[in-house]
Amino acid sequence: MTDSPSFLEVRNLKKHFPPRKIILQNNTAPVRAVDGISFTLKEGETLGLVGESGCGKSTAARTLLRLEIPTSGSVHFKGKNLASLSETELRNQRKEMQMIFQDPFSSINPRRKISDVLREPFVIHGFKENISEAVVKLLDQVGLSSDYVNRYSHEMSGGQLQRVGIARAIALNPTLVVADEPVSALDVSIQAQIINLMMDLREKLGIAFLFISHDMSIVEYFCDRVAVMYLGKIVEIASSEEIYKRPAHPYTEALINAVPGIESGQQKQKLKVRGDIPDPSSPPQGCSFHTRCPLKEKQCEEMEPNLKEVASGHYVACLLKEG
């Protein structure tokens, strides 16, 4: 690793949850939700984090923002180690790191007016003047008229409310926004509106995005680079153009193949994956994907692969791609 401080640098980040104590059961293994991930993000860049539910992508994002205390590893944001910051310093730093949540109905307080929801970031961070003007400007930026200030969340549609969620995230001019499945709760015709809005804001404000999604086609469309997670680990990371054209990990290939396509006619050679994602409290030995991998070899059951560079900027953790 170089000494020059990059925008965001995540090194060997781990988050293990302690096991639930069940009476008369010896369940002592912790759930390894995030098990040593490393990546960097440049200013203004968008990284997609994909994987099935339970692969640890949301925990990774929450741990990165220190909404969860990491078990080990470090996160450097603009050269500062987030783990070493005090509560006050961290709160100050959070102005620059914001989050957009999946379900706007559960992430926006139903008892408060939209104006109050959008005033909160300013109030928390000690702004006193011109807050009302700022709120109206924010609404305008996300394509809502100022009439919405007196509404409550139940008076709005999912798409409109997600716009409020985005407005709240950009209120304090963050440089990093973590978007956790921002469109998956929305109707198909509304998803495009929200994706377009985020693309416009990204261009206008130069925000770097960590975009968490299970939707491979939206990730290809929205992201510069893509990291694929499986059982708490990154198994492949590359530019989005490269990873969709030349997926190197069998899991990535299966994910891309499994997207039901409108492009009829083209029958892809499908790599099929059987079974379910294993229990993250007892991940398989060797390569954690070997239990489902259609290309599995003997060595995969014994040796654990590490991320290796197979092309410029394209890293993959698969024994079959080594040597």
Binding site: E52, V188, S189, I190, L255, V259, P260, S264, K272, D276
Partner: protein, 328 residues
């Protein structure tokens, strides 16, 4: 033309709620042919699930009320049958699987107890025979170690396995029609691919017809032969899947297709997705004229006042719009 298994004619479903009364389904028509898969596609609130539940008469009355229409199955109008006659059809002739297998399985009964229920109700079997058939059914839906699974509870299974159990239950009496309401929406993409493949195989094996309800046009292309696009309780466009997706005649169909990024489509820098403006209308405030006109790029004065008639450009295609086919 193959034989018509199910014929839904001018179905209207009315709801009375404290917030007011509205028509959730406003006169839809479709035919399901023997052995085919027909997809009802639309966004939330468009009436696709209500239509499906009406077929099995599973809507709670009140608040719902089927105010007009006919649903013809095997020469009988399902809407005129009494409760006892309906019970003979549900599960035996027409079966259904639901979106969320976690909430549609009973958490305090074992898988076995739930699968044999349908068998015991409709076939003269004893419990032992029913359990034996249940194990075969679980094997048929490709669940590993079926005998063991029969003794397990739903919480011990993963989402994909639970959906397989639901499918096994639905297929227990070899129904003529399977209604699948968003069968893969709650599942991960890899599991979704497995379940879709399973449904397709089972359909080909048994020769049943399938009515698939979904919001995902991708899923439609994978397994449906024909599709009906619904909006605000009405069928806007019906046709064979490939034809309809290649050359949509209705602006809403076109909007749905192009608002999704397609895998492999080369993204040019800064290129925006085509969006459908506005949002889905509340059922309480259905727009006048064509229900889609406030969101339609082609809308004219006529669209605001006059409800478009159904056009039939060829025998496989119907759409309801004031525009001529091919003008979008």
């Amino acid at each position: 033309m193959s034989q018509i298994e199910l014929d839904v004619r001018n179905l209207k479903v009315f709801f009375s709620t404290p917030q007011g009364n509205f028509l959730a389904v406003n006169g839809i028509n479709f035919q399901l042919h023997r052995g085919e898969t027909l997809a009802l596609v639309g966004e939330s609130g468009c009436g696709k699930t209500v239509s499906a539940l009406s077929i099995l008469r599973l809507l709670p009355e009140p608040p719902a009320k089927i105010t007009s229409g006919e649903i013809i199955f095997a020469g009988r109008n399902l809407l005129s049958l009494n409760a006892k006659q309906m019970r003979e059809i549900r599960g035996k002739e027409i079966a259904m699987i639901f979106q969320d297998p976690m909430t549609s399985l009973n958490p305090v009964l074992t898988v076995g107890q739930q699968v044999i229920e349908t068998l015991l109700r409709h076939k003269s079997l004893n419990k032992k025979e029913a359990l034996k058939i249940s194990a075969q059914l679980l094997g048929k839906v490709e669940l590993p170690s079926p005998e063991e699974k029969l003794k397990q509870f739903p919480h011990q299974l993963s989402g994909g396995m639970r959906q397989r159990v639901m499918i096994a239950m639905a297929l227990a009496c070899e129904p003529k029609i399977l209604i699948a309401d968003e069968p893969t929406t709650a599942l991960d993409v890899l599991i979704q691919a497995q379940i879709l493949e399973l449904l397709e195989n089972l359909k080909n094996e048994t020769g049943m017809s399938m009515l698939l309800i979904t919001h995902d046009l991708g899923v439609v292309t994978e397994i449906a032969e024909r599709v009906m696009v619904m909006y605000a309780g009405e069928g806007l466009e019906t046709g064979s899947t490939k034809d309809l997706l290649d050359s949509p005649h209705h602006p809403y169909t076109k909007g749905l297709i192009s608002s999704r990024p397609h895998l492999g489509s080369t993204r040019e820098k800064g290129q925006r997705l085509t969006e459908i403006s506005g949002s889905v209308p509340s059922p309480h405030q259905r727009p006048t004229g064509c229900a889609f006109h406030p969101r339609c790029d082609w809308s004219t004065e006529q669209c605001k006042t006059q409800k478009p008639l159904l056009q039939t450009p060829n025998q496989n295609r119907q759409f309801s719009c004031h525009l001529q086919p091919g003008s979008i």
